[in-house]
Amino acid sequence: MTLTVIGGGPGGPKALEYPEISESPRFTCALGGAYGATLATFGAVPILHSGAGCGMANAHGMTYASGLNSGGAQGTTTTPCSGLIEEHVVFGGEDKLRRLIGSTIKLMKGDLYVVISGCVPALIGDDVDSVVAEFKGQAPVIHVRTSGFAGNSYLGYNMYLDAVIDGLLEPPKAVEKRLVNILGIVPNQHVFWKGELRAIKALLEKIGVRANTLFSDFGSIGTLKRIPEASLNLVLNPFCGLAAARKLEGRFGTPFLDLNFAPVGPKDTGAFLRAVGRRLKVPARKVEAVIKEEERDLYRHMEYLAEMFMISMPHAFTAFVGDSRTIIGLLRFGANELGINPVLAVVTDDPPEEVRGTISSLLTENLEGAIRPRVVYDYDAHRIRQALKEETLQVILASSLEKYIAKSENEAFHMSISYPVYDRLVVDRHYLGFRGGISLLEDMSLDFAGPL
């Protein structure tokens, strides 16, 4: 885990000794990521093999932090949990888990049971795989071998997909020519995930491509089992989801296309459809016809908002703070279509070193206008606050952690677009696709009354 820290702060160079020690980091643990992904799989029942507080900590610090959402029908206090205490640390937690899996299958409706093991079993060495294997033939049970200390929630998302691939998937009877799996939109960490997955699905449908979103889909276990039938895996993230894409390529020979981010606004959405269309051999004529029609419709409606936008926040000096894929999409739309001036981009999802060059390029290259943003990789709320203070800013699109300091320290308009979001309810909302920018401006206008 390394960070490029800009600003330094009063700690000076010593502050780099343990950069992972931070104020309110913008993710939770691997157990949380796997738990969130399981809750997002309709029909799956998570079973936490952990201390009694892990699920509740992630209810308040993950699903609720993701646009004030509850965890859904199997979330919050409904989630089965082994609630390990000292006697299990001494004598082992396997028997407790065995009883919990059995009772869960008996009591709770579901077509997939996902055992997610946390810090305690990892430290005391419970053989969870063996316990899970005992239920073979009774019900589909898989095991995600996480722990809180294994890493963050983005890793947890990958570990969930890993467990699904290993525990559930079989070689397909046939591959569907224009079926793609969507990878890299991470439940909860990407706060608009539910709306975004639907938007991507609807977008691809327009060019005759079917999307398997994996999450938030009533196909549940069938959705997961259909993963190997896709002819392409689409990764909409510079790093998260890539491990699964590579594993699926190795296991089933499914190629993947890494587009790094999901498109906001007509320019990048058009490019997105062209890239997917080309890869899946959708006739260019068909793709272009869709783009032309969508653009015509969109720009006709942009006229309605142009006046308000030019009055309220034209060419604003803007900071983007959030996970890499979300801010790449928003920053590019802002710079290339709205004419805003991107001053600062803070990437908060701790991407691995090897993809940071790509992320920085996407945030600074091929942009309209004269200004190139400074790119900072950090997730420490304190250092990010220092970085914001160093800039002249009029708009801050960030997490709700920045809500009050944006006003008091930067005198800037603020809206929450990245985890954690404790200041707005997000269920259907998203900013993707041709018309995503309209929703964005509608939301940003809430704070601004006209001059008349």
């Binding site: 885990m1 702060g9 009063p10 700690g11 502050a15 000794e17 343990y18 992972e20 020690i21 104020e23 309110s24 980091p25 643990c29 691997a30 201390g51 009694a52 507080g53 892990c54 509740m56 900590a57 992630n58 209810a59 308040h60 610090g61 609720y64 932090a65 965890g71 029908a73 199997q74 979330g75 919050t76 206090t77 409904t78 989630t79 089965p80 949990c81 609630g83 205490i85 000292e86 640390v89 407790k96 009883r99 919990l100 009772s103 009591l107 709770m108 409706k109 430290l123 722990s147 809180g148 200390f149 294994a150 890493g151 709320a381 709700s400 952690l401 809500k403 009050y404 954690p420 404790y422």
Partner: protein, 517 residues
Amino acid sequence: MTEKTGNKSDPGPINLEDITCPTREQRANGITAFNGKASELVERSKAGGLRNCERDFQQNAGCILNFYLTVRVATIRDAVMIIHAPVGCSAPAALYREVYRRLYSAMNGPQDFDFHWLTTNIGEKDVIYGAADKLRFAIEEAGRRHSPEAIFILTSCASGIIGEDVEGVVGELKGKVKATLVPIHCEGIRSRVVQTGYDAFWHGILKYLVREPRKRQKDLVNVASMLSYTWQDKIEITRLLAKLGLRPNFIPEFATVEGFRSLSEAALTAPVCPTYTDYLSRGLEQEHGVPYFLYPSPIGIANTDEWLRTIGRMLGKEKEAEGAIREEKARWVPKMDQIRAGFEEVKKANGGDFRVMGSLGQGRLVTQTPFFHELGVSTPVALCQDFDDLLLEDVENLLERVGDFDIVVNTFQAAEVAHTARKYDPDMILSCPFQGSAYKREKGMTRIHALRGDGRKWSAQAGYAGAVACGSFLLQATRNRAFQNVMLEKTEDPYKDWWYRQPDPYFFHNKAAGGGS
């Protein structure tokens, strides 16, 4: 001096030589499982016949760190909280900036409420090689960043199992950092009873922070408010104490470190929640001679009368207390009468009764139940988070006041709650916020209380103003059930039908392995 109104049960002296408190199981025979009559619970508790048991089916409940020291300790204004844990344990504290500042902006609160915390972010290497260096660095970094008065170090399952020597690090840094270091042993694996976390917190406060009194502050009353009380409740309690010429010293939320240090100088420690305040109250009396009482809390009209009267009696302000009670009742009782009349209407339309099932902590069990009776509604069954010896006599007194009732003890066991709700079919269920799909469990669920970040007047609960606000809130909830009805009808129950067809909410209690019920 101290009036042990109610309980004579004595959990024994507090030993501040120890690094932390005993668990509630050790200290007061705390249990998290019982299903039966309240009278039976009391009898068996007295006879020492209650034991904890394993559940074969168990659900998320919160641990002693995350019920919810993380979100509370983070609000101490001139301190830094360090969570010595993997990154997920502190996730709930991510709301520390916006939620509380919104409250303060709205309520014209103190301006220095820029809270700070750090996670040591324990990783894979740390669980092998130890994380003492990281903890040391985090403490120094907290000092460099914020120059706090105190640094609270909260432990976790992981730090506990790998055997982190937190006291060693604290000892080593003592004198080298300006802040007072306060380790709190809230490893989630320590206890089934989440109240242990509060005892552990108070132990750290008493051991490291509370000073020898410099002077007695005769007008200062310590009030430890629980997490389900709001800024409005603080306003009300402040207002009522002022009528007796007294000032509150509210802890822990939004307090300063000086507020903790000067706990020893107060004239009295008064309860808002007895079970939550217990360890602190006893410790302050034992170490510094600060008297206390534990019952009642200022919830409902009669309890608020008695709360003021007890304070008046203990501090020689009987006359002021009686005057305040008279004045307040003249103002608020007519409003309560209106609410009661409203419930009479509801009861008439409902066949003569209106039955409420409250999901309560042990403290709320003894304070809220009489309030329900003031409203004129009945309480055939109560859900209680946990139960221990500390409030035994208060529960006995409660039985005398309101008669026997059924009680289901469990810490947020949603399936057991759903079963109980289906069985009793009450007219209204009052549930803690964040109880998953609780709204679906029955026809009339609403929230029993607000949380500390909610500063609105309609969320008040304490004192006379709170009794009226809360009564109105509940009456309001009877007026339209469309949301609950439609969600119940249109969403799927997570449990299979057999669960409701069999009679025992404790079906999955492993009677062979301990048998709590």
